[in-house]
């Protein structure tokens, strides 16, 4: 195959030229590819859907890590569920956290990403603050006694291996694992083309948090406009942290970013009207 044609939608699709195929595996009803595209750098796809590309992964990973960590302000212990490519870990470790627990279901994904997507983890897997656990994320949140200030659910799409990470039970168990004032953020698809996914998450997550909402960022290769991130916490103020406070935290952190900045952080919580209407129409 010389082109990758995404199979997410029937009536439209994006197509990437495969300039060099680095890796392809087809195991357990799962089809994984890593290839090079002249414009996007290395691209990873799973079951016909783009997972991450070197060119635009920074938007996704910065927004899923820096937004909850800087909104919280005193994060010591972070849980990452999924995220086997290592880029979420890389971003989280830029913060002065005491410990990061990462729960990935498949050791092979980590090995494969370290070999073929080395810029994603950029050495993060060697950091002594990492506790890496190979386990099912759902089982982990059900069983663990640890408590986390931030939980980042870096899942695949709801049809496939990441299915349970979109269940109401998962949101309930994740909530149980949050320290007081902790925040859960989740990957929630592209609402312009996937409004059902937004509404379903709102319904399932809503009952478990005092404040549950979404924030957005456009990730070009998650075709279809803004991507939504789920946001759940019992501290209502965290969604409205003042700009000077964010600014001070950001400067103190010394983070080098390409998408995130405090103004973007604040603005990301403003949802486009079509999303608000979709959410309002759900009951």
């Amino acid at each position: 195959m010389k082109h990758f044609k995404e199979t997410l939608y029937d009536s439209l699709y994006q197509e990437f030229r495969i300039d060099k195929l680095y890796f392809e595996s087809r195991t357990d009803h799962q089809h994984l590819m890593i290839f090079h595209n002249a414009r996007l750098g290395r691209v990873m796809t799973l079951d016909g859907i783009v997972q991450t590309t070197e060119a635009d992964e920074f938007i996704y990973h910065e927004m899923m890590s820096h937004v909850p960590l800087l909104a919280h302000g005193q994060v010591r212990h972070v849980l990452i569920i999924g995220g086997g490519d290592g880029a979420m870990l890389r971003e989280v470790l830029h913060h002065p956290v005491a410990q990061v627990t990462q729960v990935e279901i498949d050791q092979a994904v980590i090995e494969m990403a370290r070999q073929y997507l080395p810029n994603h983890s950029a050495g993060a897997y060697d950091d002594p603050r990492l506790q890496l656990i190979i386990a099912d994320g759902m089982n982990f949140v059900r069983d663990t006694d640890d408590r986390f200030d931030v939980i980042i659910c870096d899942s695949t799409d709801p049809i496939g291996p990441g299915e349970v990470l979109f269940s109401e039970d998962f949101y309930a168990q994740a909530k149980r694992c949050l320290a007081p004032g902790g925040i859960l953020v989740t990957q929630n698809g592209v609402p312009f083309l996937q409004p059902d996914e937004l509404n379903t998450t709102a319904q399932r997550m809503g009952p478990h948090f005092i404040d549950s909402s979404f924030y957005c960022a456009p990730v070009p290769t998650y075709y279809g406009g803004h991507m939504a991130f789920g946001w759940g916490t019992d501290n209502r103020t965290l969604r409205h942290v003042e700009l000077p406070v964010l600014q001070a935290r950001f400067e103190k952190s010394g983070l080098q970013t390409r998408y995130y900045n405090p103004a973007i952080h604040q603005a990301a919580f403003a949802l486009p009207q079509y999303m608000l209407e979709s959410l309002a129409g759900r009951d």
Partner: protein, 383 residues
């Protein structure tokens, strides 16, 4: 299919050598696949149906060599089960060119299809439509209509397909559920002698699609004309271009921006596979010579039962003929390939060749008597 089985006695020496050499190398029972023949069939059908995207009905013969050959030609695929999708996935074929055409599905099957990358589904009733609601953001739906062909050997419109009168109601119901019906499909039957039923079905679908298009905001614009393209079991030289003539005419009446699909199985693969079986025993009973072969009705010749087809047979020897029976290897008395045929006397080890045996043959074989399967070997294409 009627009676008319073709039996050919004798073979050109170089032809016989080819079969003998294959048997020397691989033994029997054997199925010999010739990719060049499949390529020829694909090109003939594509040329006879310009503008129609062909999707090979994998059920006709779910074999990796066949699928690979068609994939290399740019052919799409019609799958009806998770197992058929597994075959394509094992060959790393993208689901983008695949449609899922089974009208009745479990939820698991829908999810597997989406993970594989097939986003087109077929339904023929409201219950089935409801199953697709959770996936409505990702999929396109074809509504299957029942049209029976008088001339088809195999009727495919009894078990599946809604009545014409139900179409508007189902399309409206789908709209209310937020589901996108993008067009209609039908299956006129398999092994159709002529395209008369296809032509009529196309005209009816056109009318329905145009009428419904007027009253809804989402136009129906895909028409899937199914399969039914015949194989040449009597070796009379079917001219597929002529067979498709009326069909082309009917398709030319459709709006130019409609998407046209077909799901050919039989026409593509039937002539590309040849069966070779060996006489393993014989006996003289009531004035008839019985030959016992190492393949039969429970194996490669299962299509004589399930597909109502008789295949042209060839004996390599010539000589004075006598009343003979060709029987398969199982203990069952139904396992007879050909009754009361005139054949020259065969010896143990002689070969019986079955032609046009690519479609619905190995696909329906059984494990009865735990006999070994006929192996399929691929002839090298003379490139």
């Amino acid at each position: 299919m009627g009676s008319g089985r073709r039996i050919m006695i004798g073979a050109a020496p170089d032809e016989a050598d080819v079969w003998q050499a294959l048997v020397a190398e691989h033994g029997t029972p054997l199925l010999v696949f010739d990719p060049a023949v499949l390529e020829r069939q694909y090109h003939r059908l594509s040329n006879a149906l310009p503008g129609v995207e062909l999707h090979y009905a994998v059920k006709a013969h779910p074999n990796e060599h066949i699928v690979r050959t068609l994939d290399a030609l740019g052919c799409g695929f019609d799958v009806a089960s998770a197992g058929e999708m597994d075959l394509l996935m094992d060959l790393k074929i993208s689901g983008r060119r695949t449609i899922h055409t089974h009208p009745i599905k479990k939820d698991r099957e829908i999810r597997d299809a989406l993970r594989f990358g097939a986003t087109t589904f077929v339904v023929d009733n409201l219950d089935e439509l409801a199953k697709l609601v959770p996936y409505r953001e990702r999929i396109g739906i074809l509504l299957r209509i029942s049209f029976r062909s008088e001339s088809a050997t195999v009727d495919l419109s009894r078990k599946f397909g809604c009545a014409i009168g139900e179409v508007a109601g189902i399309v409206a119901a789908a709209g209310k559920l937020g589901l996108h019906i993008k067009g209609l499909s039908f299956h006129a039957g398999s092994q159709c002698e002529h395209a008369g039923q296809h032509v009529e079905a196309i005209a009816r679908c056109r009318q329905l699609m145009v009428d419904i298009g007027k009253s809804t905001s989402v136009p129906l614009s895909t028409l899937d004309i199914g399969g039914g393209f015949p194989a040449d079991y009597r070796l009379t030289g079917i001219d597929i271009d002529a067979w498709c003539g009326p069909l082309r005419k009917a398709l030319a009446d459709l709006p130019g921006d409609w998407h046209l699909l077909a799901e050919p199985g039989r026409y593509l693969v039937a002539p590309s596979v040849t069966s070779i079986t060996t006489v393993t025993g014989k006996s003289e009973r009531h004035g008839v010579t019985w030959y016992y072969l190492d393949d039969g009705i429970y194996g490669s010749y299962s299509g004589q039962i399930f597909d109502h087809t008789v295949y042209p047979l060839q004996i390599l020897k010539t000589g004075e003929t006598r009343r003979s029976i060709l029987a398969g290897p199982t203990c069952d008395s139904i396992d007879i390939i050909a009754e009361d045929v005139q054949l020259p006397e065969l010896g143990i080890g002689d070969l019986v060749i079955g032609h046009q045996m690519g479609a619905y043959t190995a696909a329906t074989k059984t494990r009865f008597n735990s006999l070994p399967d006929a192996r399929l070997v691929c002839r090298e294409s003379p490139s």
